[in-house]
Structure formats: structure tokens, C-alpha cells
């Protein structure tokens, strides 16, 4: 999937500039966005997902400009799957309803088709027993697996994941990362914001290092981790490694 940004700027109401003119152009399949907290990673992902508008600049996905018009954006969002750090599931719906309701109401599936698709995905993600539970009755790892199932249910062009494992206990992290890795093998394109450096390095083709609202480094993951170019990236990696076993 080809992604392009030109002069992307985001400034919130309080006048702080969160993204400082980002330019980017590449054909990507799996991309990890990494960087220190508050660097603007979530903001960038929200803009790519059409959830918020940039203050200035343009985005193109597969050569098509992402519009600023709400109706156009709503159509655009239909083709994108989004997984949030936490709390992204509808609390009043069961796991199955979380998947079927958007399929029926947004994508025009019949009830039977939607239920079949939900059952298929829940089965694949080891959640068959959990289908009729509401999010509050699921573990964090199960919630995130349902969220991923919902995000890919309508076969989106691209999947966006914003720190899908950050709110999880360590033992649940692997089960979620395994699923995302599986999606890669099925050829689903995704962009993931993550602090799991092992995953960024080994499971994602490309890595972008976002710091202070700027795209400081970008490239093949194998190269980037072996030869960090900027001081900031070296410092960032050094901090992460400090307490490693």
C-alpha cells in the first residue's frame, strides 16, 4: 500500500505543535512506528486513520487524496481497521455483536453472513467460548484479540494498531503479537505503533522513528536497528536496553 504525506502538521487548540511538517512517501506492507511517549505517534496514526484532521498538509493512500470532508472521511474509514490501546470495544455489546453490528450496519452484510464471519474469526483467534461475553468479562488479551477480529472482519485495505499490547500484562502480550504476525503472513498490510522493539525489528519490514513531532529516521527494520543514525534514536534504544536481561 502506497502512503504519502506532504508537509503534515498537527497543532491542537493549546497551540502546541505536535507534528512538525512530516514528509513521507513509500510503498509499505508492514510498518512499525516507534519513539518516545508524547512524540506524536498516536496523533499521526489517528490522522492516517481519518479520525482527526491535520492542521496542514496532504495525505495520499494508494494515490488517492484523503479528503477533509466528513462524508468522504466516513467512507474512507470503512476501508480501514483500527485497534486502540484499550477500551476500543463497545462496552454494551458482546464480543460477537462488536464484530457483527458494524458488518451489518456499515458494510451491508446480512445477519447470517455477519455471524458466520464473526464465528470464523473468533474461532481462529481462540475465542469461541468468549463470543457471548461483554468486554468487561474478558481479559485484556482477549479484548484486544476481539478488537483485532473486529478490525479485520470487513477485510480492510489496511490495519492500524495503536500500541495494542501496552495496556496488557506481559503474559498476554505474546498472544496478541502472534495474531498480528499471523495477519502479516496472510498478506494484510498494517501500521503498528509499538514499544515492543523485538516485534518492530523482526516482524515489520519497515520502521519509522518519530520523536518530537519529527520523522527522524525511516527505513528497513534490519538496517535501522543495526545502524541508528541520529543521536535521538541511539538514546531511545539505549534507554530501552538499560534494564534488559
Amino acid at each position: 500500500m502506497k502512503i504519502e504525506f506532504y508537509g503534515l502538521v498537527k497543532q491542537f487548540d493549546d497551540d502546541r505543535v505536535i507534528l512538525k511538517s512530516i514528509d513521507f512517501c513509500d510503498d509499505i506492507h508492514t510498518l512499525a512506528i516507534i519513539g518516545p511517549s508524547g512524540g506524536g505517534k498516536s496523533t499521526l496514526l489517528r490522522i492516517i486513520g481519518g479520525l482527526i484532521l491535520p492542521t496542514a498538509g496532504e495525505i495520499y493512500v494508494d494515490g488517492e487524496k484523503v479528503s477533509a470532508d466528513e462524508n468522504e472521511l466516513q467512507k474512507y474509514r470503512k476501508n480501514i481497521g483500527y485497534v486502540f490501546q484499550q477500551g476500543g470495544l463497545f462496552r454494551h455489546m458482546t464480543a460477537i455483536e462488536n464484530i457483527t453490528v458494524p458488518l451489518i450496519k456499515v458494510h451491508g452484510y446480512s445477519k447470517e453472513q455477519a455471524e458466520e464471519r464473526a464465528g470464523e474469526l473468533l474461532g481462529r483467534f481462540g475465542l469461541l467460548e468468549e463470543g457471548h461475553k461483554r468486554p468487561a468479562a474478558l481479559s485484556g488479551g482477549q479484548q484486544q484479540r476481539v478488537a483485532i477480529a473486529r478490525a479485520i472482519a470487513a477485510k480492510p485495505k489496511m490495519l492500524l494498531l495503536d500500541e495494542p499490547t501496552s495496556a496488557l500484562d506481559p503474559e498476554y502480550t505474546t498472544e496478541v503479537l502472534d495474531i498480528i504476525h499471523e495477519l502479516k503472513q496472510q498478506g494484510i498490510d498494517f501500521i503498528i505503533v509499538t514499544h515492543e522493539m523485538g516485534f518492530a525489528r523482526h516482524a515489520c519490514d519497515k520502521v519509522a522513528f518519530l520523536c518530537d513531532g519529527q520523522l527522524m529516521e525511516y527505513g528497513e527494520s534490519s538496517r535501522l536497528f543495526n545502524q541508528p543514525e541520529t543521536e535521538q534514536f541511539r538514546t531511545f534504544l539505549g534507554k530501552l536496553l538499560e534494564w534488559n536481561v
Binding site: 477500551g87 456499515v106 461483554r134 468487561a136
Partner: protein, 259 residues
């Protein structure tokens, strides 16, 4: 022995235990009542109530209808005010804020006298039932507005963002996310508010709406059976409010999807 009287960690308290302790409470209450009343030489005699069957029944129905009509009208007032309080148009915002603040900050009985003067005299609404419903709805509407506003506030941004992300339109977000969560959060409290409406409607006896309280007041004035009349009145109100409180509790359980 002690085990019979204290709550233990088990999910269900055994029926024998419940019965025993409820019985103790009843004995205490009856004893207090009985001693107090016998101190002033009152003996109970409810037989006279049979003579007033029709009037009591009419008063009872009047209270039910008053409360139902007020429930509907106050829901409308409450929803509109809650929306108004969140409005971007400052005029509506301040209007609704002032309305809710005034009503919640002053006693109902003062409002009844004041509004009856306005609604009844200035607007010329002679029908006491209609006047009563309007006054009661204006009062309860402010409380309902607060209930709804609170639930609106408690709907998480994450839920709205998720609704956007799955591709819902604004309408679909309202229909499939906001409304169900709003209903789940407000229904138990709204049911409770209905019990309040029933009780508060008794104050309309002040403007001579012949509802249950007014009926009993009149009966007690002619028979001089004050205690019997008001005790019976209390029981009649409980017949209405206890089932509602029960339903409210059940709804709370049924809609509690947070844990």
C-alpha cells in the same frame, strides 16, 4: 449464635436468617408504634374505611394518572433541558442551567404556590389536573435533566472514537452507541425518579387536586381517625413505590455491563 445475625461473605443469605432478622425489625417497629399510640389512648379501628372505598379508589387512580402524565411530560422537559445544557448556543445553555438551578434549589411547595398563581391565574388554566401535571413536570424535569446530563458526560470519548473507527455515521453512532449506553445508565435512576414523582404528587393536595393524600386528608377531617387514615395512606403509597424500587434495582443489575 452470632452467625444468625451478621452478614457473612457468602453470596446468598439463607432464608431463615433473613426471616428471623426481618421479624425482629418488625417486632421493634410495631412495639414502638404501639407504645407511642397507647400512651395517648388511641385504639385502631380501620372498619370505617369501607365506607369511603369509592373515594379512596378515585384518589388512588388520580395519583396514578397524575404521576404517569407527569412522568411523560417531565421526561420530555428533562431530555430537552439536558440537551439544552450541552448546547453550543449560549442562550439555550444559560436558560437550561438557570432553570435546573432554580428548580433544584427551591422547595417544591414554594414552586407549587408560585406556579399555580402563574399557570392557574395568569395563564388561565382552570383544570387542576392539568395545572398539577404541568407544575409537577416542571419540578421533576430538572432532576431528570441532571440524571441524563450525568450519563451523557459519562460516555467515554474512547467509545465515540471507536464508533468513528468502525465507520459509523453520526446517526449510527447515536443509534447504536450513545443511546444504548445512555439508556443503560439512566433507566435505573429514571425508575427511581418515578417513585419520587408519585410521592411528590402528594404535595399537589396543597392546590386542592383531589388525589390520594387530599382524599385521605378530607376523610380524616370528617371521621377524626387521623392515625388510621395516614397509616393506610402510607401503605397505599408503598404499594406503588415498592414495586418500582424493586424494578429499578433489577434494571440496575440487568444493564450493568461494566462488571
Amino acid at each position: 449464635m452470632k452467625q444468625l445475625f451478621v452478614l457473612d461473605d457468602k453470596k446468598r443469605t439463607s432464608p431463615i436468617k433473613v426471616l428471623l432478622n426481618v421479624l425482629l425489625v418488625c417486632i421493634l417497629l410495631v412495639a414502638v408504634f404501639w407504645l407511642s399510640l397507647s400512651a395517648i389512648n388511641v385504639t385502631f379501628d380501620f372498619s370505617f374505611l369501607g365506607n369511603f372505598q369509592v373515594r379512596i379508589w378515585q384518589g388512588f387512580l388520580m395519583t396514578v394518572f397524575l404521576s404517569l402524565a407527569s412522568l411523560i411530560l417531565s421526561l420530555i422537559v428533562g431530555v430537552l433541558s439536558a440537551v439544552g445544557q450541552n448546547s453550543k448556543i449560549l442562550f439555550f445553555r444559560y436558560l437550561c442551567n438557570i432553570y435546573v438551578g432554580f428548580i433544584r434549589g427551591t422547595p417544591l411547595i414554594m414552586q407549587i404556590y408560585l406556579f399555580f398563581y402563574i399557570v392557574g391565574t395568569a395563564w388561565g388554566i382552570e383544570n387542576r389536573f392539568i395545572a398539577g401535571v404541568i407544575i409537577l413536570s416542571v419540578f421533576e424535569g430538572a432532576y431528570i435533566a441532571e440524571i441524563i446530563r450525568g450519563s451523557l458526560l459519562s460516555i467515554d470519548d474512547s467509545q465515540l472514537e471507536a464508533a468513528k473507527a468502525v465507520g459509523f455515521t453520526k446517526m449510527q453512532t447515536t443509534r447504536y452507541v450513545i443511546l444504548p449506553q445512555l439508556v443503560a445508565r439512566t433507566l435505573p435512576a429514571l425508575t427511581g425518579q418515578f417513585a419520587s414523582i408519585i410521592k411528590d404528587s402528594s404535595l399537589l393536595s396543597m392546590i386542592a387536586v383531589i388525589e390520594l393524600t387530599q382524599t385521605m386528608r378530607e376523610i380524616s377531617a370528617t371521621t377524626f381517625k387521623l392515625f388510621e387514615c395516614y397509616l393506610f395512606l402510607g401503605i397505599l403509597y408503598l404499594c406503588l413505590t415498592l414495586p418500582i424500587s424493586f424494578i429499578s434495582k433489577r434494571l440496575e443489575g440487568a444493564f450493568n455491563y461494566e462488571n
